[in-house]
């Protein structure tokens, strides 16, 4: 049945080459843990992406209950965690995944560094990787405020003060992040929500696409 549907679509749209381009590629022996167990270090990039997918999915579902408003944000988080079935699990996935994605990204960076994979001709992919790292830290920073509890509020106060210490434009960055010159409040929460849920994920998708297109075009770097 599925085969028939596939053939029906393929006959009209010729999708097999597209599928081949995406999924059918060489996995050299030196990156395959089945050949050398130590090659598991080459899995960290894929694991980062896997956890990123979990973050995107769990985040999408969290917004079904979450409200980015000073009156209701904390209550909505409390409700979705304690009253909604599996709420603790879904929020837990997003909470723990957020830390894990940083860990995996760090290990991936170490692997790329110690195998020298950033060298010519892969410099651009390293740069894009660093940008992804920045976007991920931004996602962590903006997401931390959203539960709107004491820890979130004061962490953001400190974070915004750090941003404000940038020479010359620090004050401007602070106002643009907080939405107000003096208050970390209603406008900060909506801004951080917008940045966390729309702006940074959009940037992340574009950068991830560039990252993957480049690795596919250049192939995995050779053995040490």
């Amino acid at each position: 049945m599925l085969n028939k549907i596939y053939d029906w679509v393929d006959e009209r749209l010729d999708i097999t080459p597209i599928w081949r381009d995406i999924a059918d590629h060489e996995v050299p022996e030196h990156v395959n843990p089945a050949h050398h167990f130590s090659a598991f270090v080459y899995c960290f990039g894929g694991l980062t992406f896997f956890i990123t997918v979990i973050q995107i999915l769990s985040g999408m579902f969290l917004t079904m209950y979450y409200v980015p408003d000073v009156e209701n944000a904390w209550k909505s988080v409390y409700y979705l965690q304690n009253e909604v079935a599996f709420g603790e699990i879904v929020r837990g996935m997003h909470h723990w995944g957020a830390s894990l994605v940083i860990v995996m990204m760090f290990l991936h960076t170490l692997r790329v560094f110690f195998t020298g994979s950033y060298k010519k001709p892969r410099e651009l992919n390293w740069i894009v990787g660093v940008l992804i790292f920045c976007v991920m830290l931004g996602l962590g920073f903006t997401g931390y405020l959203l539960p709107w509890d004491m820890k979130a509020l004061f962490a953001t106060k400190v974070g915004i003060e750090i941003a404000a210490s940038v020479p010359f434009i620090g004050e401007l960055i602070k106002v643009l992040l907080a939405g107000d010159a003096t208050i970390i409040g209603a406008q900060t929460l909506t801004r951080f929500f917008a940045i966390h849920v729309f702006f940074l994920p959009a940037a992340l998708f574009a950068l991830l696409a560039a990252h993957f297109i480049m690795i596919r075009r250049q192939g995995i770097s050779g053995p040490l």
């Binding site: 000073v70 003060e161 106002v175 643009l176 907080a178 107000d180 010159a181 409040g185 209603a186 406008q187």
Partner: protein
């Protein structure tokens, strides 16, 4: 007339680029202005807020004064309580903000036994002299902010936060 004749292809390229640029600008301009509005809003001068601290009761020793006011945060209005460290310096009344200039923690007066008569921030050991001047070698890079002070019916009135004028 210049001898560089504009070809039909060039003309269309210029026109399309121009029109496209206008359309892009027409879309982006409102959104960008919308996003940066907080940075361009002019802040109304803060009114003075009355505290429950009598000027006559003040000494040279800083005391913690809590004061409440109605804070308008865009569409959300709430009653907010803030704190100031208030003392007399000669005839003048000084009110310092307790917000550490390092990373925004709250400083206390005389709470570090090793360094008496200083403001102390428990987070990273930032210290300030009584004037609010930061002690060199501790994390803060500037003096504590000051509140504008006035007096009404014998009570201390606090205005908006300004940069320290004494440190």
């Amino acid at each position: 007339m210049s001898n560089n004749r504009v070809s039909r292809r060039q003309f269309l390229n210029y026109t399309l680029t121009g029109v496209g640029g206008f359309m892009a600008a027409g879309m982006l301009m409102p959104m960008v202005r919308f996003a940066i509005d907080p940075a361009l809003q002019t802040k109304a001068d803060g009114d003075f807020v009355q505290t429950s601290q009598k000027v006559a009761d003040l000494t040279e020793e800083p005391v913690k004064v809590d004061f409440s006011y109605e804070q308008v945060d865009a569409w959300y209005t709430s009653e907010v309580t803030d704190t100031a460290w208030v003392y007399k310096s000669g005839d003048a009344v000084v009110a310092l903000s307790p917000v550490c200039k390092h990373l925004g923690c709250t400083v206390n007066w005389n709470s570090d036994t090793e360094h008496p008569n200083q403001f102390f921030c428990a987070c990273h050991g930032g210290r300030y002299e009584k004037t609010g001047k930061n002690v060199p070698g501790t994390p803060p890079l500037g003096p504590l902010d000051e509140y504008e002070v006035s007096e009404q019916d014998g009570f201390v009135m606090l205005g908006k936060k300004i940069a320290n004028t004494r440190g």
